[in-house]
């Protein structure tokens, strides 16, 4: 009997492409936002508006990704979100504590970047755990 190749799963392809779009948009937003810091007047406002629109697109992509996953994967996404939430809570408490001690304030966009980084780390950890448990 010849070995059969598994069919391409359109759901898996959709999820992968949504994640790819999410990270591309995140990088794009970060680049535009960073560029805005070195611009002036109208150009700065236009770049900030562009990064804001990009952020909405980012959230929309994330929601589409969350809708595309099945109930089994939802467990792991939940783990990643829990990891990111607790991580952010600890970081924000630390930031507030350091700010009260006289350290300079951490800008808001840095916290957004941290949230995305923590969520990504949570995804990597939970997918690693899944691989270790089930594969």
């Amino acid at each position: 009997m010849s070995p059969r190749s598994d069919p391409v799963d359109p759901l898996a392809v959709k999820k992968q492409s949504l994640l790819r779009v999410f990270y591309t948009a995140a990088l794009g937003c970060a680049a535009v936002f960073a560029l805005a810091q070195y611009s002036h007047n109208f150009q700065r406002e236009a770049l900030l508006a562009l990064s804001l629109i990009g952020s909405f697109f980012l959230v929309w992509t994330l929601l589409r990704f969350l809708r595309a996953i099945d109930e089994f994967e939802r467990r792991y996404i939940y783990e990643a979100l829990t990891f990111a939430f607790i991580g952010m809570l600890i970081l924000l408490i630390g930031e507030a504590f350091l700010e009260n001690l006289g350290f300079s304030r951490v800008p808001g966009y840095a916290n957004v970047v941290l949230a995305v980084v923590l969520w990504s780390a949570g995804l990597i950890i939970s997918s690693w755990r899944r691989h270790w448990r089930y594969e």
């Binding site: 069919p7 799963d9 759901l11 099945d70 109930e71 089994f72 089930y134």
Partner: protein
């Protein structure tokens, strides 16, 4: 929960990926159900059973407190 998924899949010569496509879930999900490491939700269990043209109790067998469970005697 015990499952006859592997047997039913083998009867139809379906791979896990093919079954996953029929049901609309990931291959990892089917793998986890088959190996008994994940219990599907009721809607998913019904969906899987429907794909095989069976009743839920013919595909999934509840193991705890089997004495009064008619499904447990079918395997």
């Amino acid at each position: 929960m015990k499952t006859r998924l592997r047997v039913l899949r083998a009867e139809r010569e379906w791979s896990q990926a093919e079954l996953a496509m029929h049901v609309g879930v990931s291959r990892a999900c089917i793998n986890a159900i088959e190996t008994g490491r994940y219990d599907p939700s009721l809607p998913l269990a019904f969906k899987i059973a429907r794909v095989f043209g069976k009743n839920v109790e013919e595909v999934f067998l509840y193991q705890n407190g089997e004495s009064g469970n008619p499904a447990s005697s079918q395997d």
